[in-house]
Symmetry: D3
Subunit: 235 residues, 6 copies
């Protein structure tokens, strides 16, 4: 299911905090990755459907530097077939002692038009990798190559990343608050509701900054909502 351009635009405007609230309202409690932080400065919001890649623990006879040359190596193959505007999400089992990827792979993702990179593991060559411009979310810097700890098992299967389920096609959104996963079928609906919530909260923040108390304002009572609606009309 492709992500509608309008939804992508809305999701780029709303924060992940707002998305978690919208998902909680729909019964989804486990949507924000844990231990995954922006490695780039985080200012740019990342939005895109997930392509997934799955690592299992390394076995010394399989996870070798030589294995990376194969055209069937799941990591290399996944990157070489990465569709434009998508986010690569890698299941590292929370292993922070090795890199999920390094600068050359990030460069290739960028060249293929990827929208971002997410892993619950480390990143190497961080100085170069973060300079390239692709949003990167991971556990932090980690020098060792992935073959020392990981064997790339398969791709485009459901995975866990940062403790959250990620299905291929789920919409992944990342900003300074972290990375949130929106189930594919809910992306349009959640994007619309989140944008509406964000508009209201910007109004409420301004009210509170102007001196209003929380009671009646946040959450808003009918009088506050009326003021909000009027302010929208006046815009």
């Amino acid at each position: 299911m492709p992500l509608a351009d309008a939804s992508r635009a809305l999701l780029r405007r709303v924060g992940t905090a707002t998305l978690t609230t919208q998902l909680l309202k729909r019964g989804f409690r486990n949507t924000s990755m844990r231990g995954v932080v922006p490695l780039h400065d985080g200012a740019e919001v990342m939005v895109g459907p997930a392509v997934t890649l799955r690592y299992v623990p390394a076995r010394e006879d399989l996870a070798t530097l030589e294995s990376l040359g194969s055209r069937e190596h799941p990591q290399r193959k996944t990157i070489e077939t990465m569709p434009e505007g998508h986010v690569l999400v890698v299941d590292c089992r929370g292993e922070t002692g090795a890199a999920a990827a390094g600068a050359i792979l990030i460069a290739r993702l960028l060249a293929r038009g990827a929208a971002g990179f997410v892993a619950d593991g480390g990143m190497r060559d961080v100085e170069t990798a973060t300079s390239l411009g692709l949003p990167i979310f991971c556990s932090g810097p980690s020098a060792p190559p992935n073959v020392g700890r990981h064997h790339a098992a398969d791709a485009n299967v459901p995975i866990g990343c940062g403790g959250v389920a990620v299905f291929p096609g789920d919409v992944v959104v990342g900003d300074r608050d972290g990375v949130v996963v929106v189930p594919a079928r809910l992306a349009d609906e959640v994007a619309a509701s989140a944008a509406e919530q964000e508009r209201l909260e910007e109004f409420l923040l301004a009210e509170v900054r102007a001196g209003r108390p929380l009671f009646g304002t946040y959450p808003p009572d009918e009088a506050t909502l009326e003021r909000y609606r009027r302010s929208r009309g006046e815009n």
Copy 2:
């Protein structure tokens, strides 16, 4: 017990490192929070008596988005009665997978003249929240709303935060080294001793930078103390 203006001024000048040394000399070994870092740039020192708020694990029927509208909700009520110059300290049980608060609550604390916000849990809307100007110390960014993980149980009771006991009125000091809790009855005495220690250590640092060895200088022997006293007289 109000915090004397003079003590507040002294505490703003000394670092939390010096405070832990003064507290250790008085037999207090567990005074510096663990897992609590400045979210703002940390340059400004935070000082103020603690107002405490206590979260317990969420229960799905109680910790709801709707519950936040009640005037008896402990989190909202505590913020609405926050005395000027105080620091709100929230016991999140070290749960980093949800926010203790977000930008609107930080804005209200600021409007009420609070001196800072401390939680051993996450913060959401970090881009906006950190732009407002209130010192914020927490476990890091975390998008999900607090009701997904927390139920606000009560306020102004003794709590643990970052592994340290915090009693209402204890003086909470935060800088780039972290957050330290000074028992209320010791605040004036510790502030004075810490300021004196800091003056001496600035002198010792200058001596070491000028080439003096550690032996005789740090800790100082009588000759070094004599030089220090002379330097003070010359000021």
Copy 3:
């Protein structure tokens, strides 16, 4: 075994990521510290042979503020005999709740010509300590003095730091990807191989940024290597 100037220069140019690959090729899988991050901005690469210092858990009758005045105190003695161009590596057993050192000790290391400071524990006075200019790698800021948690047991013995074995004289390299330990007897050989690998990878990164696919490029096939060799000839 002194570190050859040429090797030191090469190691300053290559990243720790490349070093872990070279070490993995030689059968060394556990060479990159975990939980140890640059406290300074990390831009400058740290290189130097290790001087080691070992802490054990504090015992209240031995680990006292007074004990620091002794000329036999292992921490103070080690710093006062620190050879130029070396890196002090401190085994804190991963204890992040106290400082391994503070600004005055960092100042003295700098005055003695040390090349850097590494600890799998905290650092206090971080604002001052990081302003002095010595590369510092540690678990993060931590206000409490080391005597509250640590007793300095001995120096220049094999230690563990960040989960990696460090023998006195091993070459310690730190950059934004972290800290890597190169066994002393391999330092020259690894430095040379790493520099060669880095040159090649810079070429490959440029190729990928110019649009080449991973297959055939990374790892490079014979055609790519031929282009690389030609590019070198043209330089």
Copy 4:
């Protein structure tokens, strides 16, 4: 709200596993404590409404061996007013490095007719304590006295224990699968449903042991349910 004798009897028969399923059906996902295991052999099922006790981190001037003599000390007072058939649940913040209680306090709970003891911390004097006959669930043995790590702050307030919310009066059930908390207002309803589920599952287990496949049996289809109903009628 007192626990009906009939519900207590039902809850004693059903396992905590069944209770978590019934609670999940009602939307409660976080009901089973983590890191809390039976210290006694676990064969006897523990059932009773919760009395809660809350510890915060120790402060050296307050948490003293001497403080235990006061009639206002929350731990001692709570035990001395413990109602018959209740379970004492202690919030130790997951601190396993000290005892929540020891043999003499367990003996007193038993003398007062308590139904059990639960803590997300350690137990000391385990040889004697477990010989007394009271069901004890905790993190395991731990020799140090509680005052070394804990200050008893208050009692009969909502707490967290093993990551689960416990309100005074909630029904606490423990067996070899662990400890589960049933919200007070749901105790009778959940007890009845769980007993019915358990009867059915005993039938299904017998069917599976007799060779039936899972499909159609577990979960049961209409044919299996018909056989079950017939078996009940024949009893």
Copy 5:
């Protein structure tokens, strides 16, 4: 690749400790699961080729009690097609807060002739489950049903379990020392070498118990090996 009966018999006689030594000699350093313990008394050695099952984090709309009724549910389908003499190994991502399975599924595995059950997650209904006779290795008791935390994603793919790679067909061996994974292609060779090592070590243990020093005995020098060979000849 079926496991030869002779190898199965040998593996049942040798311990997992000996297997890890034989695997280390062949360059395999990560072969023993962490956090996975025998739930049954552990006296009986478990041996069999792995069938794998993979869980990802639950999503509230997919991981439902109702989903368990589907004939395509990977967990139920895997158990219903379990080949005789095999071990079911479940990847729970180390999540100990829910059960990987309960008594009815264990009963069905037993009815199908399975050789054992392994999970890096919990087990519910432990009293009944352990009474059935199937060797069970897991993280310990945990009451909640798997759907509260897990979504069964697929089966017979490479997985991680207890931090170790498990490929379908790898030979899984469990005893009181834990669970070790032997790559399928090495099973016969490792079984033979391990049996020989175990014979020698039984001899060496007897020698040491009779008073021989470690030097010359363990590891054995030529004289000790000569005694060993003679003892074998005399048997």
Copy 6:
């Protein structure tokens, strides 16, 4: 400093819980190991002065199966020179993924008259090892040989084990509550005080079991102490 026979006898009678109280009264707060449990049934109390052995992380070129044959290998040499009645305490840095020792080394310790074995790491061959009769305290079973994770660095130096400082000669006591370290110079004094405390607490336990309330009994007031003294006179 040899341990007086009388003190050894007293320490065998008192529990580790009582020892931690006596040590806390003398200002020692960190005396009980964390993560170290009896592997044998724990019924027999272990008492003896510490011989220490220190492991650092393995390096593939040094920590080899072959290295174990050297007469200078610190682990083997320490065991071969183990004095009678002492306890071997091994610093494994809390690494639970490998064995600190196995059955043959335990057999040799027993043959040399050792009083026990303690490690904050695993034990292999647990079935055989625990059958030999030497008290063993460790993190639990772990199959892999120590050379996979550890390099034996030196012996009879101060170490940390289970988070507690252990100096050679410190008296190590282990029972079902865990392992406690008594500084050598305090052993006689603490043994005497602990025995007296234990006698009193046995009396108090009997009083509480007979129905006395905690107030006035535990801690005892003058009337209770008078009854205690009379009971001692009547014995």
